[in-house]
């Protein structure tokens, strides 16, 4: 029975000129956005990769210098573009794409592409994800708003119900009918998406992107089912076709336009971020006075000096077989690492709290969980940005340590800054290579969105069945 109903609806959609046209337009938009996304992806990827290689080249060819002085010059770490960003660019335009790696300081990611864009960018980017998140629901609404309301006014609903069709089967049949019509356009788009992905990435990256892509598809399927469920529910209890359409469009405006902005402002106001000056003032204070006022810096240096002198059994720094300043630099580095863990940690904590606050609004808008889930799978969300930032920081610590220890153990305190090294050391220093996190990790952060999407999909289907049992036949 389910199959018969689905088949009947599906055939009707195909015969409907309006469906053919809107589906064609949506399909075309999907193609265009995939194409442009692919172009953007490859341009940025090329730029980022080239810049990373260039930064290393400059580093290796900097000539003879003191290792600590070179650590101050540092290198740059560029965020590699994730392949699935061609489908969902997520926060890529809004987050910094490079971090300066230098001695003493952890730096925030800088150069947000949005800073160099015009106001046009604020309308958002029509990526494939945009089409799927914003336009596909509209298509669903157009296909479904008259599912029951229409049959009721034409009188066919009475006939169908008089046959004794169970309401559950009726709802499932209608759902499948819409889904089948959507898949007619989504399956080719997916194939093209995979091709674009294959074209954009090397084999290993492609392989790691496949599970993420598959999960993304599942997420979108749940999202579409949620909208079908809502549309069927409204269609079942709306008194006429017109009311059904108006209510559904209002819901779309509410959940896709109003709530995302509203949620954003609520989250921002509830959990403000310190200004740049506040942040660094706090960091400097901790550097001077020790974390939370414990163990200030001059006391730390003195203790270290006593310890090292005792260890080597000498009375003066100048008599040490090593360079005390190198060790002292590394010690202060290790102290400030703790401090950066605290301060940057707090910033990320606030970001995630804001994200969660926004996420709460996912209970009234299915748009928010799918947006979060899609970005999460594409690797363009906040968590991936943090992952990159942490990876760079990890790298910075190894990089600076290696240079400081070279300085400490290969020179003497009295040579100090007259100690110079060359290419050999620069080449030996670690090179930044970012490994993007595994699918499991990405999925782990999306559990709330997944739960919400599942609730939306099955909750609204359940609601549709319930409304179908309660609905009037005429």
């Amino acid at each position: 029975m389910i199959k018969t109903i689905a088949k009947k609806d599906f055939t009707e959609f195909l015969r409907d000129g309006r469906f053919r046209w809107t589906a064609l337009i949506v399909f075309a938009l999907l193609l265009v956005s995939l194409g442009l996304g692919w172009k953007n992806y490859s341009t940025v990827k090329r730029e980022q990769d080239a810049a990373q290689a260039d930064s290393r080249k400059t580093w290796e060819n900097q000539g003879e210098r003191n290792p600590h002085s070179a650590a101050h010059f540092g290198v740059y770490a560029y965020k590699p573009k994730m392949p699935l960003s061609l489908i969902d660019s997520g926060l890529d335009n809004f987050s910094g794409n490079s971090i300066w790696v230098e001695a003493h300081y952890q730096n925030p990611a800088r150069n947000r592409p949005i800073e160099d864009a015009t106001a046009l960018q604020r309308f958002g980017e029509l990526t494939a994800s945009g089409v799927l998140q914003l336009l596909l629901p509209l298509l669903i609404i157009f296909l479904t708003f008259d599912a029951f309301a229409g049959e009721r006014s034409s009188g066919t609903l009475r006939q169908v119900l008089s046959l004794g069709v169970p309401r559950l089967q009726l709802v499932l049949g209608k759902t499948l009918g819409v889904l089948a019509a959507l898949l007619l356009l989504l399956v080719p788009a997916t194939v093209i998406g995979i091709l674009a992905l294959a074209l954009a990435s090397e084999n290993d990256v492609l392989l790691s992107s496949v599970p993420r892509f598959a999960l993304m598809c599942v997420g979108y399927l749940l999202y579409f089912i949620a909208f079908i469920g809502i549309a069927l529910t409204v269609s079942a209890f709306a008194s006429n076709v017109r009311t059904s359409l108006v209510l559904l469009l209002a819901f779309w405006i509410f959940s896709c336009l109003l709530i995302p902005r509203f949620a954003n402002d609520v989250a921002q106001n509830a959990h403000p971020i310190p200004s740049n000056k506040q942040f660094w003032d706090a960091v400097y204070k901790d550097m001077r006075e020790g974390i939370d006022g414990h163990n200030p810096s001059n006391k730390r240096t003195k203790e270290l000096e006593e310890k090292i002198l005792a260890q080597y059994g000498v009375a003066k720094k100048e008599d040490l077989p090593i360079n005390f300043n190198g060790l002292s630099l590394q010690a202060s580095e290790e102290h400030s690492n703790l401090l950066f863990d605290k301060h940057f940690g707090n910033i990320w904590k606030t970001h995630h709290t804001q994200e969660r606050t926004q996420g709460l609004f996912g209970t009234v808008s299915p748009f928010l969980p799918i947006r979060a889930f899609s970005m999460g799978m594409a690797g363009t969300d906040l968590r991936h940005q943090e992952h990159f930032s942490n990876a760079v920081e990890q790298y910075r610590r190894e990089f600076v340590k290696m240079l400081n220890l070279d300085f400490a153990y290969n020179s003497k305190t009295k040579d100090d800054y007259n100690y110079f090294v060359g290419k050999e050391i620069w080449q030996k220093s670690p090179e930044f290579a970012y490994i993007s996190p595994a699918t499991n990790w990405a999925l782990g952060g999306q559990i709330p969105s997944v739960v919400l999407l599942i609730l939306w999909a099955f909750g609204t289907l359940g609601l549709a069945v319930y409304s179908a049992t309660k609905m009037r036949a005429f």
Binding site: S69, L91, E115
Partner: protein, 478 residues
């Protein structure tokens, strides 16, 4: 007759529950948007205020110390620079802050993204905290703000279309059209009168709610507040007119109400959502913003060169560790200062060259994008709203220009004093350059915005003209 129809239309609307609900919801959204926007602005303003106050207080304290004859301390563990030393003040980071325009609440625009505090110092900004900013949550830029411009650009058209998609078609479907036209009245007058009635009503709601909100939250005493507000009224009127004339145009085809609804919402979708966001990706794909990476690399090469050069002047570690300077005597301190200032000035000059090259390329790209705004009235309106609110790119680059001048004035004041080994007197303190933003002349804002307004009005006129032409063939019965 015309007035009669208008009055009748109003009477009808006020009797209709759905209109009242829609109007109340819309007014509430407008009110919330003004409240929310102004709240954000107040937060930002408070931050800027603290920033300026702290640095003013810092200078005042130094001046006070100089007046008391304090010469600094080199005592170990309590190192304090001489407050009269032009080096330590000149090298310190000063912030030039862009104040919001009096009408900023009209649109937050780019103000959340473009940093409103610009660091100024004798040296390059590298290593100063001004160059280590960017702690805002990227997620906060994704959705955008719920501000007045959002309601105007996105929601106002929906309200207009929801009211007017069935201007004629509903009369025809109710069978009242023929009845109406049996009066001494033609279709053009009827349609014009009906649309005028709705236009006046909606505009009144929009202007009343927004302006009351704006008056409550803005500094109305600023001298360009009223001129900017009038321009805003003009712009919003033109934008509303565009959507109404679009509705008239759609109505003139004589479709059924249902078809009108579909066509109107499709046009809204295309002009407000699809086209702008499609253009965004298209622009980034076809005319990408020049990569910052190259500029970063170039600046780093300058840095490297200067380090090599600088080592001639003084062993380069002193660049990294001014605090490691030899503590014996004044002369060494000055020597170091001189070398460092010299290197930094040279480096800054070359960094500026790199940045200017980037800015030039970037400007070209932006000009190209600017002309694309004529493809959608929403883009025009959005940019114009930002212009009027003073949160667009133009006012920002005006600010950047002034920051550059201030930066020059700052260096011109301190650098010669440093090289002459002078110390600052109390009167010198009073002459230290301070940043004061000179507001962009209103004429500039006007000339940019009026072009968009006229374009919107022209398009509306064309739509009306075409619609009137079509009305001749309008079928009166279903």
């Amino acid at each position: 007759m015309f007035q009669k129809i208008i009055k009748n239309e109003w009477r009808n609307l006020f009797a209709e529950k759905s209109f009242l609900i829609l109007a109340v919801v819309f007014a509430a959204l407008l009110g919330y948007a003004v409240y929310n926007g102004s709240k954000w602005l107040k937060q930002r303003e408070a931050q800027s205020k603290t920033l300026i106050e702290t640095q003013d207080k810092d200078l005042a304290e130094k001046r006070e110390k100089v007046a008391q004859g304090f010469k600094g301390s080199t005592e170990p563990g309590n190192f304090q620079p001489n407050p009269a030393d032009p080096y330590s003040i000149g090298m310190s980071l000063q912030y030039a802050v862009l104040p919001f325009a009096s009408t900023a609440v009209f649109s937050i625009g780019q103000a959340d993204i473009l940093p409103i505090d610009a660091g100024v110092t004798i040296s390059t900004l590298q290593r100063t905290v001004a160059d280590k900013s960017g702690f805002e949550n990227p997620l906060s830029f994704l959705a955008g703000r719920f501000d007045l411009s959002f309601v105007i650009v996105y929601l106002l058209p929906l309200f207009v279309l929801a009211m007017s998609f069935n201007l004629l078609s509903s009369e025809r479907e109710n069978g009242t059209l023929q009845l109406l036209l049996s009066n001494p009245l033609n279709l053009k007058t009827l349609l014009t009168a009906k649309v005028t009635a709705q236009f006046i009503l909606i505009l009144a709601i929009v202007l009343a709610v927004s302006l009351v909100g704006v008056l409550l939250t803005s500094n109305t005493s600023a001298n360009d507040f009223w001129s900017r507000s009038l321009l805003w009224i003009l712009l919003v009127t033109a934008y509303t007119a565009f959507w109404f004339s679009l509705a008239v145009f759609v109505n003139s085809f004589g479709f059924s109400s249902a078809t009108n609804a579909v066509v109107s919402s499709a046009v809204w979708l295309i002009l407000v959502l699809i086209l702008p966001s499609l253009l965004t990706v298209a622009v980034s794909a076809m005319y990408p913003v020049p990569s910052r990476n190259e500029a970063i690399a170039a600046i780093r090469n300058v840095n490297l060169d200067m380090r090599k050069d600088g080592s001639r002047l003084l062993s380069e570690h002193y660049q990294d560790h001014p605090e490691l300077m030899p503590k014996n005597e004044k002369l060494d301190l000055n020597d170091f200062g001189l070398a460092f200032v010299y290197v930094q000035r040279e480096q800054k000059k070359r960094v500026e060259e790199v940045e200017n090259r980037f800015a030039e390329q970037h400007g070209k790209q932006q000009n190209l994008v600017k002309n694309l705004r004529f493809l959608s009235p929403s883009i025009i309106t959005n940019e114009a709203l930002n212009d009027i609110a003073g949160t667009g790119l133009e006012r920002y680059s005006h600010f950047r220009g002034q920051v550059k001048e201030f930066d020059r004035a700052w260096a011109d004041y301190f650098v010669p004093k440093i090289f002459r080994l002078e110390k600052l007197s109390v009167t010198d303190f009073d002459q230290i350059p301070r940043f004061k933003f000179q507001e962009e002349p209103f004429a500039n804002v006007f000339s940019r915005v009026i072009f968009g307004v006229l374009f919107l009005l022209a398009v509306s006129a064309v739509l009306m003209y075409l619609a009137f032409g079509k009305l001749a063939n309008y079928r009166l019965e279903k």
